[in-house]
Symmetry: C2
Subunit: 394 residues, 2 copies
């Protein structure tokens, strides 16, 4: 072991990838408040308020609305392992990396999975899903509302309708949607949704907000065998998060207090205003990217506002451009996942990061980096972005 | 939703329960540094240093030494689900709440568990374990090195010997031992150990340091079926923690940077000095408790230094005393778990909380609280504690 370990100083990155998103100073201050015990009576109050604030953001009235002590990926795992019993059939709409991950996680939970593959970059095809479900006893319809890997928005209404037709539980990945757009759990008939503390909520990573409908709760409470994960078992977690305060795990008061502050900021802004801000900033960024002469991966009608995927021009080196953005501008954007590695850039405008200032910054920085690579863009895109922003909220 | 959500201000508790322990100011400052991305090149350096520092604290040379993105309970789950395949026989020494939890978690992973129950408050009985293992193909010997629920220290050497005799993997719960006392993974032939970021390391809760031996690594890499947890799958996690940097989950840079700082403080103090400090402070507290006329739950030869269980005198109300300590002194201690609820107090002197100042404070506060309840102690215990401390390190 090196005798001298230096303290680590984090540089100030501008986080414009699809997560983590920029964290507000008050959230970092909340995070660094003194640690209190997991059974401290005051922490119960924080948890109760977090649950109420999460219900509001999720559009759910279910008391089974809490945060797992893990990242968004633990949210996916927890949603699926609580609901699935071995042999259950799960229909999963796959159109990107995270849809594919749902397949993997559901299979590890013992499900027989019908994975309905779609071209990356488009919404799910209802007819295709319906056909795949025919003559099967489908227990779960699973979909990703905001596919982080592609920037595709999935309309929930048709899938919700399909779940009803099949008398199946509707499970929604809201990792990149929560806090950026409406999830509307109760209105959409969602039985389980999960997300992360970062991205749309702009907290630090480390917690996974989840919500389960009363119907899901009843199923979980009457399982024939225990949830395979003790750590994520909702039956046990609700004994801790509920009034009973039964010890389950040493939840991090620091993360909870930070999430509480992040949710307070969401609440202060107001959900409608926040969703509209994301929509407006997303339109602005897309207008700028187009004016640069770059190609967007997702057609407007399917595009998310909070994550924009840009095709990397032929001949341009993905990593070199991203390293330049990081080194010269301190800006982080992301590359593609899976088959889109090296072919896409993904720019996130999420939570407190979704601002005109950041749109302008990332466009100017990207234009300069492309010029440095000998790929002059048509335009910096900034004026087009400003114009789209000024065109307002309609 | 209440229109006015107030920001939450955490009171400054003196955390003298068996976890979380007091967090050093520099660790809280590290925690609140700006968030950086999970694939940021600088984070890899932090992770590499964390792995090296953890190897040192664990006494392991294995590169499979990382932190799960969850609390200590996720460490237990991750250690077991990575190793166990359905039908495997696991022998678990149970002498407290966390031994019993290992049984539950191993069963959920599909193991057939031989739970060898012991009276709470004593070490495991090797002859009893050996007898229970006879004529069984035992794959795992599992034990808790420091039983948080009772304050019992488990000697690892005899159990390690048993594991070797049985040609079984040796799995050790080091949740309350890591950073307080030697775990010595390589010397003790431990194949998997897990802990938490809080307690002995005095970081905030939220990460679970784990280590797997090369033999365990080989088994995990050649499993016949995938690890049931995607989130805790070491095969995938090592692609992320290793040089490959394959995306797995959005690890929290804030928690990592805080853990890095906490481990740096451990390293600065030195392991031997740290372990000796815990031993000395533990002896001091026990001497004080005895001088008060209170009864210790665990005989000296089996007692931990970092967690001391005290029998609640007959007629004294557990909760009233603990509420008084919290309200009047801002001191948190804990009650008993399971059958010992209402019968034990548990006082932790862990990590940066293990100090003579805290021994004196908790003794004085406890003595005053007992007097207020009409149960005058023989003595405050402070002078006896000071005397034991002065008697030094032998």
């Amino acid at each position: 072991m090196n005798p001298q370990v230096q303290a680590f100083t984090t540089p100030e990155r501008l986080l414009l990838g699809p997560g983590p998103s920029p964290v507000a100073p008050s959230v970092l201050r909340a995070l660094a408040q003194p640690t209190i015990g997991h059974l401290d009576p005051l922490l119960l109050q924080v948890q109760d308020e977090i649950s109420a604030l999460l219900r509001s953001v999720y559009g759910s009235e279910s008391p089974w609305t809490i945060a797992f002590s893990g990242t968004g990926s633990s949210g996916m795992e927890g949603a699926l392992v609580n609901l699935i019993e071995p042999g259950d059939v799960a229909l999963v709409a796959v159109g990107g990396f995270f849809g594919a991950r749902m397949v993997d996680v559901a299979q590890r939970a013992g499900a027989r999975v019908i994975a309905v593959e779609h071209e990356w970059g488009r919404q799910a095809d209802l007819a295709k899903l319906r056909k795949a479900a025919a003559a099967e006893r489908v227990r779960f319809v699973c979909a990703v509302q905001a596919e982080t890997s592609t920037g595709v928005r999935q309309d929930l209404a048709p899938l919700s309708q399909l779940a009803r037709e099949l008398d199946a539980f509707f499970v929604v990945d809201a990792v990149t949607s929560l806090g950026c757009m409406a999830v509307d759990c109760d209105a959409q008939g969602i039985d389980a949704a999960y997300s992360c503390s970062q991205k749309g909520l702009s907290c630090v990573p480390g917690l996974a907000p989840v919500t389960f409908s009363p119907r899901a709760q009843a199923r979980i409470a009457s399982r024939t065998r225990p949830v395979q994960s003790f750590y994520l078992d909702m039956n046990l977690l609700m004994r801790f998060w509920g009034g009973e305060r039964g010890y389950h795990h040493t939840i991090s008061s620091n993360l909870l207090v930070a999430l509480h502050e992040a949710l307070r900021l969401v609440h202060l802004e107001g959900l409608e205003a926040r969703f509209e801000r994301h929509a407006r900033i997303g339109r602005s960024l897309r207008a700028g990217v187009r004016a640069m002469g770059l190609e967007l991966f997702v057609p407007d009608e399917d595009a998310l506002s909070q994550v924009t995927a840009i095709r990397i021009p032929a001949g341009v080196d993905d990593l070199r451009v991203r390293k330049r953005l990081l080194a010269e501008y301190g800006i982080e954007i992301s590359g593609g996942l899976g088959a889109q590695k090296g072919r896409l850039w993904r720019v996130g405008m999420m939570g407190s990061g979704a601002s005109l200032r950041n749109v302008v910054l990332v466009l100017d920085a990207l234009a300069a980096s492309l010029r440095a690579e000998g790929e002059p863009p048509l335009d910096s895109g900034v004026e087009a972005a400003q114009g789209a922003f000024a065109a307002g909220t309609s």
